[in-house]
């Protein structure tokens, strides 16, 4: 499914410093992509896209810095290769951290674990059927710039956003069997690879 015109599977890195990176890899495989664990800068070479998973954003942020990953992550983003951030991944991409999204995420905005919840969520781009969204000590988007497209909100708070090649959500699509949110990301990745191919051909 998630293959380029040339037919080779999309190579999608999953930042594997801490968090539920294996759950993302499973969903990506389901969509026909080839997931690769990313722990050091060299792992980001030859990727079509990157997932920054759920986990503890403070931990992931510190490990990005100790592994010297920030320049390689910026190069990935600047090359127009898509990035998906879920929960902690949304926070890591926000304006206060890597700055890949013109949003400010509020950490643990929905509360502690006892306030964690599941809800049916209408999400732009996944079709009419609502998505079962799993929110765990989840953030929400407190502020977003004019270029940011809000794909879903819960009780008036934006919880899924897209800006250019970066897609992010406050919930965990990787913890359900429904791959539709990742399918949006795969479509973005296929387009990005085609664009890159055309540029090389020109």
């Amino acid at each position: 499914m998630a293959a380029s015109a040339a037919g080779t599977p999309l190579r999608v890195g999953v930042l594997a410093l801490q968090g539920d990176f294996e759950a993302h890899a499973k969903t990506l495989r389901l969509l026909g992509a080839e997931p690769r664990e990313v722990r050091v800068p060299g792992d980001l070479e030859e990727l079509d896209a990157l997932v920054i998973p759920g986990g503890e954003s403070t931990t992931i942020g510190k490990l990005i810095s100790s592994a010297g990953l920030e320049p390689a992550l910026r190069a990935h983003h600047e090359a127009g290769r898509p990035i998906l951030g879920t929960c902690a991944g949304l926070i890591v991409c926000d304006a206060d951290h890597l700055g890949f999204l013109d949003v400010t995420a509020k950490r643990n905005a929905f509360g502690r674990q006892l306030q964690s919840f599941e809800a049916d969520l209408e999400v732009g781009g996944v079709g009419d059927e609502p998505l079962r969204a799993v929110f765990i000590r989840a953030p929400w988007v407190e502020r977003h710039g004019p270029e940011v497209e809000v794909l879903a909100s819960y009780e008036g708070r934006p919880v899924a956003v897209r800006e250019g090649t970066v897609l992010a959500c406050a919930f965990h699509p990787e913890l359900t069997d429904d791959p539709r949110f990742h399918a949006i990301f795969m479509a973005m990745t296929t387009s990005a690879r085609e664009r890159a191919g055309e540029e090389v051909g020109r």
């Binding site: 801490q18 968090g19 539920d20 986990g55 503890e56 592994a67 000590r137």
Partner: protein, 295 residues
Amino acid sequence: MTERATFRLKTGLAEMLKGGVIMDVVTPEEAKIAEEAGACAVMALERVPADIRRDGGVARMSDPAMIKGIQEAVSIPVMAKARIGHTAEAQILQSLEVDYVDESEVLTPADEHNHIDKFAFEVPFVCGATNLGEALRRLGEGAAMIRSKGEAGTGNVVEAVRHMREITTGIKRLAQLGPEELSSEAKELQAPLEVVKVVAEAGRLPVPLFCAGGIATPADAALMMQLGAEGNFVGSGIFKSSDPARRARAIVEATTHFNDPERVAAASIGLGEAMPGLEIAGLAAEDALLQNRGA
């Protein structure tokens, strides 16, 4: 429909802790050091296992004021320990809104026969196990995360290794069995048949499996990850060492890069003294093994 406290939400938080280190802390200051070092969660308790072992007496749930102080000091998840079978302590911890309850053999058991009915709670529970049967019994009671027991407070990783191998080898064995063998196997394991079937089918536990009990060095942390742990609990190993902040960072680094010996080596340099270690044989002779509590 909005739902809370589903089993998916309970195991979901443990999924988010994978690949990380959960550190025992006894004060808000220690909690901040742990968070700063990259801990993915902290375990709030009154005394680290090494001190509980040294002091003796009855070890109980921590003072709620201390737990609240730690919750205010950090933004990462805060766990706390209840005595095995002590439902009221767990209720108190739930009312304090801790993120996870550890029904722990490190504290003095309150009930010699029964564990807490963890399905009755909204807060998720982690429980220790020395082998697969014990892990499956805890799952049957509603645990949403399993950790090896190891031998807490010893700085000796040998028991954690034994327990992790017991659990992972047990799972591999179970996955080989035919459906007709599972009933008798459940009897053998003294575990509920439904849970046995789930594990046999999936070839893995339905919840995250972490290591606890005896990790004192970055190399210990890397070893446990190589043996199949999905994350590490470190108790006395950090704050009983000579340079806790630095050792904490090194253990976080080794847990992430467990398959990269050069990085683990670099993290292991200049850490100062590790916590003093204890031989297991001596403790066994004194009948002082915590792992035998609440099987």
